[in-house]
């Protein structure tokens, strides 16, 4: 999930190190590692491919003239390089990852194994359909799980992540409106919305109209209804919302929206709070993306890949994008062209080449089959229970802007408890790093000052939650007591101290260059 502190570059002053300097620069098991371009040398390679004879005659005179400029490394060096880099990373497998809005839950290893079965991992998107019936069956089974869990009649599978799903949803809505011969240009988006929502609305050619939040962290339903009008195409609501709360007036808002001839797009990034307990279809939602990489645990190391299927109401279903999966006497088939459309289908277009994130589909279905409907329900309950446990255990020492709770799967705090301490939300979060934890989401949602959004997920034991709570409580009390050592210049125990983001943005160095060439940015 995005961290707005990234948008407020920090430039820490240099701090002197009280560490015993080593000769090598490495420290015990912590190795510094140069860039591959600094390690490699020419002539070396980590693969053995025979040098074949070959003529230029079929290259249209466009044979590459110069070298690419890639460094040469042997396999042992490459392995050591990436193993060392990996050791500089925090990960779910190493500890609690309470990054609000990101649902960093356990990624089961069985999912990885299944995704690597040659029958899934080594099939081509365009090989004859007779040879991929198993793959198409899997997609159809996953579609059934998604529509059943959401209580929606249809789902578009091709979107490659949540934001892509948002785009898919809005384009479906756009098409539906056009099919009615109308044009509607405005989309209502709460100020608490995730950045992708307004960005997507703009991308889809709509103007964004912000809806304020109430003092208790909900969307102001009255303000929203007041903003409805003939030019409103849709509202984009996140539910549970980005403050970790369920919108109590959601059905009422849905009715109002529909009455106004608009559609209700729901950002489903927080589906993990309600899966198996609440069906978005019952709430009057017309379209919702599901982040398979969050709710259904497909690993997205380093920031991806994801998958963002979009469930659709009956009103929107006909406008789903190509390709369309259909089943007939000869089995499953992907309809990739308008010429073969089933009755009523009016696809708005195509989201991407081929038919979506199959690798993620395999993992998500494996997750669903493993959990089952009962396990998915239990997971949601545990996620909500854990967030409330954290809220209840910390609200007396930290400040919960929306009071007593209950919350859904995320516990939100603001920085008022730090007022006057000189400790900022950033300091507080960075101090968590020294304690062996990944910080919570900071400065999001924007409706709360110095927000700290904690999403423990269902993957933590009570013992783990208790340890985390103990650390946060102690930190909060220290901060209030004016004991700042732990916070000033934190982290101290990580592979790096705070990094100078201002300098990085002022003189961007976005790639390695051979020493002789000047850095382009300079």
């Amino acid at each position: 999930m995005t961290m707005n502190n990234q948008g407020r570059p920090t430039a820490p002053g240099t701090v002197e190190s009280n560490e015993l300097p080593t000769i090598s620069g490495d420290r015990g098991l912590d190795h510094e590692e140069a860039l591959i371009f600094e390690i490699g040398r020419s002539g070396m390679t980590g693969v053995d491919i025979p040098q074949v004879q070959m003529s230029d005659t079929k290259l249209g005179g466009l044979r590459r003239k110069g070298p690419v400029g890639l460094p040469g490394l042997s396999e042992p060096e490459v392995i050591r390089h990436y193993v060392r880099l990996s050791r500089m990373n925090y990960a779910i497998d190493a500890g609690l990852y309470p990054l609000g809005s990101c649902t960093m839950k356990h990624n089961p290893r069985l999912n990885e194994k299944m995704a690597r079965l040659p029958g899934f991992g080594d099939v081509h998107p365009l090989q004859p359909e007779a040879t991929v019936q198993g793959a198409l069956t899997l997609i159809s089974d996953l579609m059934r799980w998604l529509t059943t869990l959401t209580g929606m009649p249809a789902v578009a599978m091709s979107p490659k992540a949540g934001a892509h799903g948002e785009l898919c949803g809005l384009l479906t809505i756009r098409a539906a409106i056009a099919a009615r011969g109308e044009t509607r240009t405005r989309i209502l988006v709460p100020e608490s919305a995730h950045g992708t929502n307004p960005a997507t609305a703009a991308l889809a050619g709509f103007t964004v109209d912000e809806v304020p939040a109430t003092r208790d962290g909900h969307v102001d339903a009255d303000a929203l209804e007041a903003k409805l009008g003939p030019d409103v195409a849709a509202i984009m609501l996140t539910n549970p919302n980005t403050c970790g709360l369920f919108e109590p007036r959601i059905k009422e808002m849905a009715d109002a929206v529909h009455k106004a001839g608009a559609y209700f797009y729901c950002d489903g990034a927080n589906f993990n709070a309600i899966a198996g307990r609440v069906r978005p279809g019952d709430l009057g939602i017309d379209a919702m993306h599901i982040n398979l990489h969050k709710t259904f645990s497909t690993p997205h190391g380093g920031g991806g890949p994801g998958a963002g299927p979009v469930v659709l109401s009956a009103a929107l279903a006909p406008f789903a994008p190509l390709p369309l999966l259909v089943q007939d006497a000869n089995g499953f088939r992907m309809i990739e062209d308008r010429a073969e459309l089933p009755a009523g289908a009016q696809p708005f277009g195509r989201m991407c080449a081929f038919h979506g994130q199959m690798g993620m589909f395999v993992r998500a279905l494996t997750y669903m089959l493993s959990h089952g409907a009962d396990g998915i329900r239990q997971a949601s309950e545990d996620a909500v229970l854990s967030a409330n446990y954290i809220l209840a255990s910390l609200k007396d020492v930290m400040s919960a802007p929306f009071g007593e709770g209950p919350c859904m799967h995320e516990a939100l705090f603001d920085d008022s408890f730090l007022e006057g301490t000189g400790v900022t939300t950033l300091d507080f979060a960075k101090a968590l790093i020294d304690e062996g934890y990944h910080p919570m989401t900071m400065y999001f949602p924007l409706v709360v000052h110095g927000a700290m959004l904690i999403e423990p997920t269902e993957s933590e034991s009570k013992e783990s939650l208790d340890r985390f709570i103990h650390v946060l409580r102690t930190m909060a009390l220290e901060a209030k007591a004016g004991e700042r050592t732990r916070f000033d210049g934190a982290p101290r125990l990580a592979p790096r101290r705070r990094l100078d983001e201002t300098a990085a943005a002022r003189k961007p160095v976005l790639r390695w260059k051979p020493k002789d060439l000047p850095q382009a940015a300079e």
């Binding site: 074949v52 003239k65 990960a91 029958g119 899934f120 934001a163 080449a353 009962d374 396990g375 790096r496």
Partner: protein, 448 residues
């Protein structure tokens, strides 16, 4: 359930601490009517690993894996040998189960490989800067068109008929909203005269090379024509390995390169996840979509890396962002960058040569089959054949013989009448002599 660490005792203790009667009390805000029970879902319950493994293995067994047959499909996804070290390394817990490197102090591993990835992509494409990936080649192409429209403040995008039809449709889907998209006629085996169509309303021309039929395109004249009219050239590459042997778009005047990186480090995966490569000129930096990693220093003076120029992105700029992308292709970049690090200059160029040699030899043999002709005079590892009958029928026939003969052009462009008999055939370093023999004789028989 094996993935859920809370016991019932834990749950009641936690509820007690919260002061909630039961779990339902926590769902207070949900309209009663909207709370459903187990019976609302006609779905199975928890299954053990053994059982799930069996179910999915059976499904997988219903597919013909590319490695299990003579296999010649390409058209945007290519089967290459990925060294075992790649899959081993990307499964390191610290890579697999970390997320976007928002906390640079404990994400240097991810940040450094992304910085290396950006450098590799810039080098391959011959461009100045590259981002930390987009979803795939098709969405990268769409982003490129939108970026060109922003940069030129012009609306028209001209798409070459040689652009992969799925890519063209993806571009149209989004670019039509902000402007107009023109597609030039499909000219299998020939380069259309796209330069002629460029006018002063043109934001960009989009040309793929090798094109969807495998033909290698000379981008230089197109770049000149585009630049003369103040338009940008967007070069699309669907088989990234081709850049080991062919002049990079950057060297031919491209302003933006949008490419599919699957061919390096990533499997076929039935279409995804893949990795979108995006490179451009330094001066266009601030209009780039997607994440960027930059070098900097930490408070101790040590070199380090951070996400930078985020002011382009949705989480800062919201509706004014250069793109709505958030989650990208992290792990696929990692596979890409590890594989390319293993290859290095030497390995990469040998790989490219091996591919071209394979394809050339196969093309020679197949075009000798009676009634079959090669329509792509130049190509890298993929070429197009004209068959005496509809390609789809031939492919289906060979499939029954256990040969996956390639992609019938009609599957991608059903409306192109004269594409009906065209077969797009790819061969890579994984193609064996036996594979070729089987294909040649089966084709000869099928067309006779």
């Amino acid at each position: 359930m094996r993935y859920l660490p809370l016991t019932n005792t834990d749950r009641s203790e936690m509820l007690a601490k919260i002061g909630a009667r039961d779990i339902d009390a926590l769902f207070r805000d949900v309209p009663k009517a909207a709370i459903v029970g187990r019976s609302a879902f006609d779905l199975t319950d928890t299954k053990g690993e053994l059982e799930v493994d069996r179910l999915l293995s059976r499904m997988a067994a219903k597919n013909v894996a590319a490695g299990a047959a003579p296999f010649f499909c390409g058209a945007g996804a290519y089967r290459h040998h990925v060294p075992a070290a790649v899959d081993h390394l990307i499964q390191r817990s610290e890579f697999l189960t970390s997320y976007t490197p928002y906390q640079p102090e404990i994400a240097q591993g991810t940040l450094q490989y992304l910085f290396e990835f950006q450098t590799q992509v810039a080098l391959l494409t011959g461009m100045e800067v590259a981002n930390a990936s987009l979803y795939d080649g098709s969405t990268a192409t769409a982003e490129a068109v939108l970026m060109a429209q922003r940069l030129t403040k012009r609306s028209k995008a001209i798409l070459s008929g040689g652009l992969h039809p799925h890519y063209a449709e993806t571009v149209e889907t989004v670019a039509n909203l902000s402007g107009e998209v023109v597609r030039t006629p499909v000219t299998p085996g020939n380069a259309e005269d796209i330069a002629a169509l460029i006018d002063d309303k043109t934001a960009c021309v989009v040309v793929q090379s090798p094109d969807v039929f495998g033909l290698i395109r000379d981008l230089r004249p197109i770049a000149e024509a585009a630049h003369a009219k103040g338009a940008l050239l967007i070069a699309v590459v669907t088989e990234i390995v081709s850049l080991g042997l062919i002049e990079p778009p950057g060297a031919m005047g491209a302003d933006i390169v949008a490419a599919e990186g699957q061919g390096i480090g990533n499997g076929l995966n039935f279409g995804g996840p893949y990795v979108g490569l995006f490179a451009t000129r330094e001066k266009f930096l601030r209009q780039m979509p997607g994440r960027l990693v930059g070098e900097t220093q930490d408070a101790g003076g040590k070199r380090g890396y951070v996400l930078t120029l985020s002011t382009r992105e949705q989480h800062i700029r919201r509706e004014k962002a250069t793109s709505n992308i958030c989650t990208n292709s992290g792990l696929c970049c990692l596979a890409f960058t590890i594989h390319l690090s293993l290859l290095g200059e030497e390995g990469f160029s040998r790989l490219a040569r091996a591919n071209h040699a394979r394809a050339s030899a196969l093309a020679d043999r197949l075009s000798k089959v009676k009634g079959v002709s090669l329509i792509t005079p130049s190509f890298f590892n993929e070429f197009t054949l004209k068959l005496p009958k509809a390609a789809k029928g031939i492919v289906d026939r060979l499939t029954t013989k256990g040969i996956i003969a390639g992609v019938p052009a009609s599957r991608l462009m059903p409306h192109e009448a004269d594409a009906a008999n065209l077969l797009i055939v790819a061969a890579t370093e994984t193609t064996t002599d036996e594979d070729c023999d089987a294909f040649v004789s089966a084709l000869a028989e099928a067309v006779s």
